[in-house]
């Protein structure tokens, strides 16, 4: 290393390397330059460190905390709103499904007392909407009888599955979309669309009702 290299590297401000140090210790001129440069760097640092507004760092950090709180508050509000929306949607009581529950509680016994119709007649009644065989794949068909429901004639079916008794209301005349639900006094009802008409399933276990409704719809 020569004096030119030494002074060039000093000016770049990259610090003194071992090679530079060795040179400085052997060169009085560069040693003086080094001392002068140290004073210069100190003055440079001091000049560059301009006065920062009072409390600037805390103010900036505080703004981040405030932003985070605001963000979390907004997120929490959105979450609560979404939750409330989901709850409201889930809790929405569909009148037709509610009528299904009322049927089970008030009318079903009367239909059962009137007795089931012959199998051939049942097959004929259900053929276009929900064939008996499809229901028999799920459980035992114990009762089939047409009866009035919600201003129309439906076919009332009592289906016994391993989890218990279910009421199935086959509605050939009802065309609808989506799925309707209701819950009341320990009963749960789901109404789903079929290719021709619709079917309502009512029982005490929501999961079983949902599962059977989905199977009948498939």
């Amino acid at each position: 290393m020569n004096c030119l290299d030494y002074r060039r590297q000093l000016l770049a401000g990259t610090g003194e390397s071992d090679a530079m140090r060795v040179h400085r210790l052997q060169c009085a001129g560069c040693a003086a330059e080094w001392a002068d440069h140290a004073t210069f760097e100190e003055a440079l640092g001091e000049a560059m460190r301009v006065l920062v507004p009072q409390g600037f760092a805390e103010r900036m950090a505080g703004a981040q905390v405030a932003r985070r709180r605001k963000f979390l508050a907004a997120a929490a509000t959105a979450l609560v709103a979404a939750g409330a929306g989901v709850y409201a949607w889930l809790a929405r009581q569909d009148p037709l499904a509610l009528a299904g529950i009322d049927f089970v509680m008030k009318e079903e016994a009367k239909s059962i007392m009137m007795g089931t119709i012959p199998r051939s007649e049942a097959e004929a009644e259900l053929a276009g909407t929900l064939p008996v065989e499809r229901m028999e794949r799920i459980g035992q068909v114990k009762h089939v009888r047409p009866c009035p429901f919600n201003g129309q004639t439906v076919i009332h079916v009592v289906l016994v599955v391993p989890q218990g008794k279910l009421t199935v209301l086959v509605m050939p005349a009802l065309r609808m979309e989506g799925r309707r639900r209701a819950a009341k006094e320990g009963m749960y009802a789901a109404v789903v669309a079929l290719q021709n008409g619709s079917v309502g399933v009512i029982g005490t276990d929501a999961d079983v009702v949902e599962s059977v409704a989905a199977t009948l719809q498939a």
Binding site: L11, A12, F40, A43, M48, M60, Q64, V65
Partner: protein, 159 residues
């Protein structure tokens, strides 16, 4: 280190860096404030937390350029650089005046080196120049400052 701690640690030097870019205290404050807002939004996506300091300085730089609608400062010649004659009574003030007279293209890498403690390679990466060009700017900046502050204070002080 969380974002608030990062801000608390580096806010002062970020302000100083912004000041040497903008040469205006109010604008420097605005630039840092806006930069930190952007930083706060982007911080979760920062993978290399070890590079957070360089990242913050880069955001301040970008925010300054964005606020100005400007391109990165060009490394114009230092030949015509002059400092005012007034206030040469104190060495620190002289140096500050000399720094203010220095074009941003030269003062910026100097600020990143002196305030941020970044290496030539890091500075080159941050300002989008080659390492060689960055070293040249740093060298020329110091040469100019020495020339500008030498006549009274430094030369007189040593003799």
């Amino acid at each position: 280190m969380g974002f608030e701690d990062l801000v608390r640690t580096h806010a002062a030097d970020l302000f100083r860096y912004a000041y040497w870019l903008a040469r205006d205290r109010a604008q420097a404050e605005d630039v840092v404030q806006e930069a930190l807002l952007r930083g706060w939004r982007a911080f979760p996506r920062l993978r290399e937390r070890g590079a957070a300091k360089a990242w913050l300085f880069s955001i301040v730089r970008n925010e300054y350029l964005r606020a100005l609608g400007a391109k990165p400062p060009a490394a114009e010649s230092l030949d015509g650089v002059e400092i005012p004659d007034e206030r040469q009574d104190l060495f620190g003030l002289e140096m500050r005046d000399a720094l203010l007279a220095l074009p941003v293209a030269y003062a910026e890498p100097l600020a990143l080196q002196v305030l941020g403690g970044f290496s030539c390679a890091e500075i080159a990466d941050m300002i989008g120049a080659s390492e060689g060009a960055t070293m040249t700017r740093l060298t020329r900046a110091r040469q100019a400052l020495k020339r500008l502050v030498a006549p009274r204070e430094r030369a007189g002080g040593r003799s």
